[in-house]
Each structure stands twice: as structure tokens, then as C-alpha cells.
């Protein structure tokens, strides 16, 4: 098992180097120049432009800039934002918990609804319930996030007034950041009102972000369940006279879960990287919104640093999924 872990870890090195090259090149391949964007309609003199370019270090060759970036990265230094002048690492870390919190709630929503829905669809195969679940999940999977988010806001926030339109917590509360998770920090502070407000603010964004993973999980659960339901041992279990509930929950679901767990693990990476639209709609102060701002301002250090960090986190999550899978299913260790 330890050897399996080491191999998986070693495989990450070339991937990581590739990621640094892509992140570095990506923002530079986009047309646009941070200095010109900053100057706007007003323009900037050629001398001042050259001066700023030198200050930002963009007058050096791309190879030098890349190796400086790599060197800094190995020391945990991603440089400073061109806009705020703060360290990119600090900016990222102060926003990441917001994205993680939202992603986890979205995942919880997807699993809690998706898993039973998939099981029900499999058990009632070919019936109305099956068609309904699969139809709804296909719709959810194809839903444009932006439209879906606005639709929910209009219905639940503006018309019915059940949920707040956007934000992370009511302005009534100011909770000091300990973990960065608003729900946990409010509990640490012992403020139930703040905790409820944080939960209240999570409802709509978690539903919107969780919609696609929910559809994926429901469909995966259904097909995996159907596969296992056709196995001989399930028939044997039924022949032994076990109750339908026991056959499904104990004999079928547990075995079907192996592939479902993998899919759930893969969703975590997608959620972290894919929260950008949801964060924009709900003014959620996470890394997605921060990356969008950095890209539009061509803030090179923030974009390349942010991309590398996101990629790194996704790689670690995938590694953990691999290892977990190895634990569940010993055959793949070799």
C-alpha cells in the first residue's frame, strides 16, 4: 500500500510541472496588457510604460520570468498582486475557505438527494418514478448555471422572500475569521443567530452549485445499482427470502457504492474549480470571483498563482480518491 502511495505521488511531479507551464503561459497568451488596462482611455507615455514594465519585471525574457516564478513557488512565494500589491498566497488563502465551504455544502446536497434518487430509480426501473428522476436529472445536468441561479433568486428571494439574494452572512453579524468557514466560526463564537444566517445564505448557492453533481451522482447510482441487481448473489439473497429492503440496502447498495464513491470524489475537484459562475451570481467571496477579477485586470501573478494552487488542490483530492479506492478495492493497488 505504501509503494502504491509513493507511485501515485511520484506521478504528480510531472503533472505539477506541466500545470506551472500552462498557468504561466495561459495568462500571457491572452491578448491584453495590465499596464494599458490600468491606464484606460487616458493612455500612458512610452517612458512611463517602460518604467512600469521594468518595475513589474515584464521586461525580462519569458524564460527568466518562468524560472523566477518556479523558484518563488518552491519557496511558497507566488509574488504580489499587481493590483492590490498583497502577496498572492495570502489573497488566495483568505478566500479559499469560502469556496471550500460552499463546495462541501453543494456536495452534501448532491449526495443526500442524488443517492436515494438513484436508488429509487433503479428499484423502480421503467416505471414513472424512474423516468421522472432521470428526466429531472438530465434537465439539471443541462441547466445553464447562470440562468438557473437567477431563476431561483427571483423565485425564492425576491418573490417569496424565503432566502437572502446574495452574500455569505447578514450584515448584522461580524464574525472574526478563525477557520474561514462561516458556519464553524459562528459556532466557535457561540452565536446561533450568525450560524443560522450563514446557513440561510448557503441554501441557494449550494443548490445551484450542487445541481450538476446531483444529476451525475443520481445517474451513476442508478446504473451501478442496476448492474449489481442483476448479479447472481442478489438473486440468491432474494431466493433465501430476504426482505426487499435488506436486499437493496445491504446486498446491492454497498457493492454499488464503490463506483459511486469514485464519482463523488471526482466531483469535489470539479466543484472547487467550477464554483466561478455560482460565486459570481451570489456575490460569494471565494476564489472563483477573485480569479475572474484577476483575469479581467490581467493581474499575471494572481492568475498564474491562483491556477497553480487550484490545480494543486484538485491533484491532491484526486490522489486521495485514488488512495481511498485502493483501500476499498485492493485489486487496483497492483
Amino acid at each position: 500500500m505504501f509503494k502504491f502511495f509513493l507511485i501515485k505521488l511520484a506521478q504528480l511531479v510531472p503533472t505539477f510541472i506541466g500545470v506551472t507551464i500552462v498557468a504561466f503561459a495561459f495568462i500571457r497568451l491572452l491578448p491584453g496588457d495590465p499596464i494599458l488596462l490600468m491606464a484606460g482611455e487616458r493612455g500612458i507615455s512610452a517612458e512611463r510604460y517602460a518604467e512600469l514594465k521594468a518595475q513589474m519585471g515584464f521586461d525580462r525574457s519569458l524564460v527568466t520570468q518562468y524560472f523566477d516564478f518556479l523558484k518563488g513557488l518552491l519557496h511558497g512565494d507566488l509574488g504580489n498582486s499587481l493590483v492590490t500589491h498583497s502577496p498572492v498566497m495570502d489573497e488566495f488563502m483568505s478566500r479559499f475557505p469560502a469556496t471550500l465551504e460552499l463546495s462541501l455544502f453543494a456536495l452534501a446536497f448532491a449526495v443526500i438527494i442524488g443517492l436515494p434518487a438513484g436508488v429509487l430509480a433503479a428499484v423502480k426501473r421503467g416505471k414513472t418514478l424512474d423516468h421522472t428522476v432521470m428526466g429531472v436529472s438530465l434537465t439539471g445536468y443541462s441547466m445553464p448555471i447562470f440562468w438557473w441561479g437567477l431563476l431561483l433568486i427571483m423565485l425564492f428571494s425576491s418573490t417569496l422572500g424565503w432566502t437572502p439574494v446574495s452574500g455569505r452572512i447578514s450584515f448584522l453579524y461580524f464574525i472574526d475569521s478563525v477557520t474561514g468557514f462561516m458556519t464553524i466560526d459562528s459556532l466557535i463564537a457561540g452565536d446561533w443567530g450568525a450560524f443560522l444566517s450563514a446557513l440561510h445564505h448557503l441554501v441557494l448557492p449550494a443548490i445551484v452549485l450542487g445541481t450538476i453533481p446531483l444529476a451525475v451522482i443520481a445517474r451513476q447510482t442508478r446504473s451501478s445499482m442496476l448492474e449489481v441487481l442483476g448479479e447472481d448473489y442478489v438473486r440468491t439473497a432474494r431466493a433465501k427470502g430476504l426482505s426487499n429492503f435488506r436486499v437493496i440496502m445491504v446486498h446491492t447498495l454497498r457493492n454499488a457504492l464503490i463506483s459511486v464513491v469514485t464519482v463523488i470524489g471526482l466531483q469535489v475537484g470539479l466543484l472547487l474549480a467550477g464554483a466561478i459562475l455560482t460565486e459570481t451570481i451570489f456575490s460569494w467571496p471565494g476564489i472563483g470571483k477573485w480569479m475572474i477579477d484577476a483575469i479581467s485586470r490581467r493581474d499575471y501573478p494572481s492568475v498564474q498563482g491562483g491556477l497553480v494552487l487550484i490545480a494543486f488542490i484538485v491533484m491532491i483530492v484526486n490522489l486521495l480518491v485514488d488512495i481511498a479506492y485502493g483501500v476499498i478495492n485492493p485489486r487496483i493497488r497492483h
Binding site: 491572452l30 491578448p31 491584453g32 496588457d33 495590465p34 499596464i35 494599458l36 488596462l37 490600468m38 491606464a39 484606460g40 482611455e41 487616458r42 493612455g43 500612458i44 507615455s45 512611463r48 518604467e51 512600469l52 518595475q55 493590483v83 492590490t84 500589491h85 489573497e91 483568505s94 478566500r95 437567477l150 433568486i153 427571483m154 428571494s157 425576491s158 422572500g161 437572502p164 439574494v165 446574495s166 452574500g167 455569505r168 447578514s170 450584515f171 448584522l172 453579524y173 461580524f174 464574525i175 472574526d176 459562528s186 466557535i188 463564537a189 457561540g190 452565536d191 450568525a194 459570481t280 451570481i281 451570489f282 456575490s283 467571496p285 471565494g286 470571483k289 477573485w290 477579477d293 490581467r298
Partner: protein, 528 residues
């Protein structure tokens, strides 16, 4: 740990409850500030969160106008040769007392001198910290204009200029000239953390900074020591909401009281809403189509005028601005002093335009129209505008092709004197002075830069240069009026539009005034 429980005002408003202990106004701002030191930045979003709330300047624009009035300086005088401007400071201005700073003295001349030194003196530690990157100060050429700043006494400061410059006093009302506390910044330097000045600002303004949760919210509270008295609202919150549609939903739900930059298509619906007042005002801006006057056949004024007559500007206002704008005939907006209302615009007349082009010997003309890739306050949709122009020009036999580039690239390439074609662009005023439009955008100095028509016309330029040196506004206005006549005859641009600024606010908000310069200030605003 829970540090603060901001008083129940906002909850009361949100939940429709009754007891109001403290008044909190929530402003759904459109983006995150880049920082809180206004001298370092050029974006309006940053100024709203810093200079408009926390700071004051020597002089200010009278709320809702572009007229300069006293602020920290109670009066000022300009020497006869226009080279010395002396400001007399108020003696009752205190810097804010917060968790992180307690001032030991009131504002004096040292703070004023410090404010400008940090932007122009290479030996000042803040100059070094920012690498001299004070882009607004630099782009207004303040460093070249100010020869020295002298402390006459504790409450008198004299600016000595290298040349007379009439807009100078108005420049000092701009955000970059916000007065910093020398004592606070020295204290930060002594503590070895000067960069905190950009994160925890201290000024003399109506609101003091409480905290900032990145990309989420900025909190302020009324400054109890404000020299004009404490504000009617107790707390001010900027709820950062980048999507215009979501801002609108929040306004309707009562989660915010004021929102900037509504979608033009939502304005009509907002006006029907009983809970919302939609304030509107002509923006201090202009959108234009700049020909390259250094290239044939656009070097001939009659060709440019003919093309202007071929373009139906009213159709652009109707289709692109959806009525939220008016046709421009001059390069400065009608709300600005010096505007010449006697000017007759070139009327839309395709037949005459065709004739004029034929008379000028122009046949089968092919040209480029540059359409900006972004939406700006003066131009909601440049692509659509360019398409309308293209079809208008086709009617007079001109084959126009639409080109566009990424925004930074667009700005750079359009400045080039060898550029092919006519460029759609615009401008929003900085200081309410006509020189800020006509001098910057049409003066000979701007060729190859902000002067996109690459137009250097001596009679026009002489008037502009002369107006810059006079201090009497009446005399200056006459020169600008003459300059607009020359502009219209020469037609380096087709002046397209002045857009209208809309500001939806909730009915319970009183005292809010639209700033023609595009800022958002909450001084004097109350909630009923």
C-alpha cells in the same frame, strides 16, 4: 470570537421589524476596491470606497455639481501671475480615531505637504514603497506642474507652480489629492508596516473605516469628529455585488438601499416599482467617433463632415442607448460651463453627404470602424453602434469594415498616428473643467496619445493653451466657446452621445445626489 454585533437597524429594515437603534445604509457596490489609498489607483470603485468616504481634500466638488467649493481649505487665492496658489486651512479638522490609530493633533499644513510629497518626492518612504506608481497624479502632470509646496504657517500652504494652470485648483478636488495623516503614516513607518495605510485608511472624512471582508463587504461608521458634524446614518456598508441583475434583486428585496450601474433594460421596470426611486442625470461624458485626420481622405474637413452627415445619431441613441442618452453636438457635455449651445450640429442628410463626398473627389471609399470590445459608462454597446454606422455609410457608398481588439490593445493601437480608420471611444470627466476634455482629447500634446483623431490644429490649440493660463472663468468660457466653433467646422470627430446616469435608490433614502463625475458619496444621506 464575535467582535461586533452591528446594531439592529439593518435587520429591522430587512425583516420589516420596527425598533431602529442605529441607522445602517447598505450600498450594493459593483466591485471590490483595489485598496484604500486613493493616490495609488485610478478606478472609480476604489475611490468610492476610500476617498469619497474616508477622506477629504483641500477643495471639493459641490455635491451634485462640478463647481469647486471649500473643504479642508476654507479659502484660497491665486497670485496675479498665476504661479502661486495659497490655501488657508480650517483649524477644526480632526483625523479619525479608530481601533488602530488615535491622533494627537488636528490636521495642519504638514499633512497637506506630506500628501503631495509622498506622490512626488523620490526620497519620501511612501514614494519608494509604491515605486512612484501614483498614476493619476502622474497622468495629470502634477509633478511637472508643482515646483514646490511651502508651509507659510500651521494653517497656510502655498503651492508654487512652474506655469500658470487654471484647472489646478479643480485638480486638487480630485480623489488622488485626498489628504493623508502624516502622523499616522509616520507611526506605521516607525512600526515597520507602512503598507497598512492601504488597508486601514485614516482620513478626515464623514465615515471611518471599520473593516473589510475581501470581495464581500466593507463597513464604515459615521465619524463623530467630522468637521461638518456627524452624519445622519450611523453605519455604512458596501455590499460587493458584481452582477447588475443581482444588485437589482437585492434592492427589491430591501437587502440594499442604493445600487449603481443598473442594466439599461431594467430601468423602465424599476421606475414602475413603488419601493424604488430612479434618480437620473446627464453624465459628464461624451462618446465619439474619431477619424484619423493625418490620413487621406480623412485629412479633409469636408470629407469628415460628409461622413458625420451620413450617420444617423438619433437612431444610435434609440437603439443602443435605449433612450438613456442624448445626441452630442460638442466635445463637452451640456452640463459643463463653457458649453456652446449656439453650435449647429451637422444634420443627418445622406443625400447631401453623398454629394459632398463626390465634390471632394471621394469615390468607392473603404474604411475601418473600430468598435470597443467593452461596455463603458459613455457607450453601452460599441459593436451595435458600429453596425448602425456601417449600414448608414453603405447608403452613401462608403464600404465600412468593423474591427476590434482586446481592450488594452485597442487603446494602444488606436493611439497610433498611422492607425487605419475611425475609432469609437469616449471620455468621462475628472474635474469638471473643459480643459479636461478639449485639452486632453483634442490638443496638439495629445497626438499619438489620448488625441485619437491625431488632430493638431493651431487656431484651436492656441485657444486651449490660452484658456489654461487664465484664472477668470468667464474669460475662459468665451475661449472654449470659440474653440467649439472651430471644432465643429473642422470635425475631427463625429460627436455621438452623452449618456444618462441612472441611480436606483429605495424610497426611504433621502438626500442622495448623483455625482456628475461618476462617484458615489453618502455624505448627508439619511434613511426615513
Amino acid at each position: 470570537m464575535k467582535k461586533t454585533l452591528l446594531a439592529a437597524g439593518i435587520a429591522a429594515m430587512m425583516l420589516g421589524a420596527t425598533p431602529v437603534m442605529a441607522k445602517t445604509l447598505v450600498y450594493c457596490s459593483e466591485g471590490s476596491p483595489e485598496g484604500f489609498d486613493p493616490s495609488l489607483y485610478t478606478a472609480g470603485t476604489t475611490f468610492d470606497a476610500s476617498s469619497k468616504t474616508v477622506y477629504n481634500r483641500l477643495v471639493q466638488f459641490k455635491p451634485g455639481t462640478t463647481e469647486v467649493e471649500p473643504a479642508i481649505a476654507k479659502s484660497w487665492e491665486i497670485s496675479d501671475d498665476g504661479l502661486e496658489v495659497t490655501f488657508h486651512l480650517r483649524d477644526d479638522v480632526k483625523f479619525q480615531t479608530t481601533d488602530f490609530f488615535t491622533p494627537s493633533r488636528k490636521l495642519n499644513a504638514d499633512d497637506v505637504i506630506w500628501t503631495f510629497e509622498r506622490q512626488m518626492d523620490e526620497n519620501n518612504p511612501y514614494y519608494k514603497l509604491a515605486n512612484g506608481s501614483f498614476e493619476y497624479f502622474n497622468s495629470m502632470s502634477m509633478g511637472e506642474l508643482i515646483k514646490s509646496i511651502e508651509k507659510v504657517d500651521d494653517h497656510t500652504v502655498k503651492f508654487v507652480l512652474t506655469k500658470p494652470n487654471a484647472p489646478f485648483v479643480a485638480n486638487l478636488a480630485m480623489d488622488f489629492a485626498s489628504i493623508h495623516s502624516k502622523e499616522y503614516e509616520q507611526q506605521l513607518l516607525d512600526e515597520g508596516k507602512p503598507e497598512l495605510a492601504n488597508q486601514q485608511p485614516i482620513g478626515t472624512g464623514p465615515f471611518q473605516f471599520v473593516n473589510y471582508r475581501e470581495d464581500a463587504a466593507i463597513r464604515y461608521q459615521a465619524n463623530p469628529d467630522y468637521f461638518r458634524g456627524k452624519q445622519p446614518i450611523d453605519n455604512l456598508v458596501f455590499a460587493i455585488t458584481s452582477d447588475a441583475q443581482v444588485r437589482y434583486q437585492k434592492l427589491m428585496a430591501g437587502e440594499c438601499h442604493v445600487m449603481p450601474f443598473p442594466n439599461p433594460s431594467d430601468v423602465e421596470e424599476m421606475k414602475q416599482n413603488d419601493d424604488i426611486n430612479v434618480l437620473q442625470e446627464a453624465g459628464l461624458n461624451v462618446a465619439y467617433l474619431a477619424y484619423n485626420t493625418q490620413q487621406a481622405p480623412f485629412d479633409k474637413p469636408e470629407v469628415r463632415k460628409a461622413l458625420n452627415m451620413a450617420i444617423n445619431k438619433q437612431a444610435i441613441i434609440d437603439a443602443v442607448f435605449q433612450g438613456a442618452g442624448e445626441v452630442a453636438k460638442n466635445p463637452i457635455p451640456p452640463t459643463m460651463w463653457g458649453y456652446n449651445d449656439d453650435i449647429q450640429d451637422d444634420q443627418y442628410d445622406p443625400e447631401k453627404a453623398k454629394q459632398m463626398l463626390a465634390d471632394a473627389g471621394v469615390e468607392n471609399l473603404k474604411m475601418n470602424i473600430w468598435a470597443m470590445p467593452v461596455q463603458r459608462p459613455y457607450m453601452p454597446n460599441a459593436r451595435r453602434t458600429a453596425e448602425l454606422m456601417q449600414s448608414d455609410l453603405a447608403k452613401v457608398g462608403v464600404d465600412a469594415e468593423i474591427v476590434t481588439y482586446e481592450w488594452g490593445e485597442y487603446l494602444k493601437r488606436s493611439s497610433d498616428t498611422k492607425r487605419e480608420g475611425a475609432v469609437i471611444l469616449g471620455w468621462t470627466g475628472d474635474n469638471g473643467d473643459p480643459d479636461n476634455f478639449m485639452g486632453v482629447l483634442l490638443g496638439c500634446d495629445g497626438v499619438g496619445g489620448a488625441n485619437r483623431s491625431q488632430w493638431c490644429h493651431q487656431p484651436f490649440d492656441e485657444l486651449i493653451q490660452k484658456a489654461r493660463t487664465l484664472s477668470d472663468q468667464g474669460e475662459r468660457a468665451k475661449l472654449y466657446e470659440q474653440a467649439q466653433e472651430i471644432f465643429k467646422e473642422q470635425a475631427p470627430w463625429d460627436t455621438l452621445a452623452h449618456s444618462t446616469v441612472f441611480m436606483p435608490i429605495r424610497k426611504e433614502v433621502t438626500g442622495y445626489k448623483i455625482d456628475p463625475l461618476g462617484g458615489h458619496s453618502f455624505e448627508g444621506v439619511d434613511i426615513k
